[in-house]
């Protein structure tokens, strides 16, 4: 086990079809489409029991056509990634307990899907997820509680309170966010240069 990774930060094993599931609900974001193709291509029987949800604008170039070509029982497009999340919640509310949830894309998006599923009684570890796409994090400022999406470096400046925040590896599944803490609290003004987040 990699001891550098905090236990609060989920690790995503990769999309693997669960043949025992009665139906499959797949949510795709950004660069996630190839992960879905790898897992589902050729699985005719399973695809007959599969719903794929994705957002027009968010699926990377070419991804959409290839998802269409999979010929899943249902493929549903949303206008934006926010609508996609709402759509996911609507479909999940109507699904029975034996549905298996898959999500592929940015870590911040996976976090939101898992958190919203958890509110609906789905055990987070039962969601099959694969991280694809660049490193960016959703971070909550512990001081003013503002959440910044797409944080790529640490420290960064909180757009809520303007303080310079260290991005910790500590992750809350409920908030689907990492924690940001003021980096120069002990010596105000002593802010080290920002470094790209490596993972």
């Amino acid at each position: 086990m990699n001891t550098d990774v905090m236990d609060s930060r989920p690790t995503y094993g990769g999309l693997r079809l669960d043949p025992r599931a009665k139906s499959h609900l797949v949510v795709v974001d950004g660069d996630g489409a190839p992960a879905v193709l790898d897992a589902f291509a050729g699985a005719e029987d399973e695809l007959n029991r599969t719903t794929i949800l994705c957002a027009h604008e968010d699926v990377a170039a070419g991804g959409l056509e290839r998802l269409c070509a999979l010929r899943a029982a249902r493929l549903q497009l949303s206008g934006s990634s926010e609508d996609l999340l709402t759509e996911f919640e609507r479909v999940l509310d109507g699904a029975d307990m034996s549905v298996r949830i898959y999500v592929a894309g940015r870590e911040s998006f996976i976090g939101k899907v898992v958190a919203s599923a958890a509110l609906r009684g789905v055990v987070p570890d039962s969601v099959v997820a694969e991280r694809r796409g660049g490193v960016s994090r959703r971070v909550q400022c512990v001081h003013c509680k503002h959440i910044d999406e797409g944080v790529t470096a640490s420290p960064y400046r909180c757009s809520g309170c303007g303080q310079h925040l260290l991005v910790r590896d500590h992750f809350s599944r409920r908030l689907a966010a990492f924690q940001g803490v003021r980096i120069d609290a002990e010596i105000p003004g002593e802010v080290p240069p920002a470094m790209e987040l490596a993972s």
């Binding site: 236990d7 512990v142 303080q163 500590h170 809350s172 609290a185």
Partner: protein, 346 residues
């Protein structure tokens, strides 16, 4: 037993201090001259008279002022007290545990009268006389956990047990060693402990969790934990770290004795009867270095513990900036003589 309650503050002018009796009963956490994490869990048995272990819930001279400080913190940030909806039964379990224990062991201070579900609670130090229906939250001015923990020293977390894990699904946390309930609520035992260094590789959390999953009703357990705080501040939350963090850079050889505090947590865990949840109490005690060195054994021992402490632990506990200044100051109180085993003063 009569307790004289001090009027003191834990912010702004920081008038908090310990009486000689409070120093004497301080739960000094080191039984040898070095410290490392371990699964230090023991039965929460009644301890010696006047010690903080005498009763399951310890009320001391700081009670009234600590409750006032909690109220200030809650007024500024209500999210220090949160409870997920399924924890309501555990909240009532906690009301029962605390009221019964406080009334039984401090009858001059607290009285509980139970007539079926009709309960009357009298809290003399805080001037409260409340009649309510046990199990009916509408008969109390606050939700049950908030109601009773506004009247009991120490922070509290309620842990739900499911899927072979413990989930921090409720808590009253206003005097924490730099962790956030608002961030951690809903996490499981391994998740909320993730920031702790080294312990994971020692399998400490795995073993502790396994132990707690089997915790039996009526057989509470306890452990001690410690850190250090600059100024006698209770609210060392991450939320306000942008305000108190700078205090760590204010320690000088001249002010170590007053400013630098050893902060000990007496943590106790009970299985609750109706909810099967666990309550985790974090009862904090603060002592400054001037007070600590009035006990020669503690002065010697704390000097050695701090000097030998692993850098990972010092960093995690936030001591790095003032550790050496404190060690140098304590060195003057350490003549190198051997210390006796155990926690007690000689």
């Amino acid at each position: 037993m009569t307790v004289h309650f001090k009027q003191e503050t834990f912010r702004d002018d920081y008038t908090y201090s310990n009486s000689p009796e409070a120093i004497r009963r301080f739960p000094f956490p080191f039984d040898k001259d070095e410290y490392m994490y371990s699964v230090n869990i023991e039965q929460h048995m009644p301890g010696p008279a006047k010690s903080p272990f005498e009763f399951p819930i310890d009320i001391d001279e700081h009670y009234v002022s600590e409750m006032r400080d909690r109220a200030i913190t809650l007024a500024q940030d209500p999210k220090r007290c949160q409870s997920l909806p399924h924890m309501i039964t555990a909240e009532w379990d906690l009301v029962e545990l605390l009221m019964e224990s406080m009334a039984k062991h401090y009858p001059e201070l607290f009285t509980l009268t139970q007539d079926g579900d009709r309960w009357r609670w009298i809290n003399r130090p805080l001037d409260i006389d409340q009649t309510f229906t046990f199990g009916d939250a509408s008969t109390l001015p606050y939700p049950p956990m908030e109601y009773i923990t506004r009247q009991c020293q120490g922070d509290f977390a309620l842990l739900d047990q499911r899927l072979d894990n413990l989930w921090m699904d409720a808590g009253m946390i206003t005097s924490q060693a730099d962790w956030s309930l608002d961030f951690d609520i809903g996490m499981n035992f391994l998740e909320w402990h993730a920031p702790v260094p080294l312990a994971k590789d020692m399998a400490i959390f795995e073993r502790a969790l396994k132990f707690l999953l089997n915790l039996q009703q009526g057989r509470p357990v306890r452990r001690l934990n410690w850190t250090m705080t600059i100024n006698p501040r209770l609210d060392t939350s991450p939320e306000n770290y942008d305000k108190w963090g700078a205090d760590r850079a204010t320690v000088t050889p001249e002010n170590v004795g007053r400013k630098v505090h050893l902060r000990v947590e007496l943590q106790a865990m009970w299985r609750l009867p109706r909810s099967n949840a666990i309550v985790f109490s974090i009862r904090g005690y603060l002592i400054n270095m001037d007070e600590l060195v009035t006990v020669p054994k503690w002065a010697r021992r704390f000097h050695r513990v701090l000097r030998e402490l692993r850098p990972e632990l010092a960093e995690y506990k936030g001591l790095t900036r003032y550790r050496q200044t404190t060690i140098d100051w304590l060195a003057k109180h350490d003549d190198g003589a051997p210390t006796s085993p155990g926690f007690q003063p000689d």
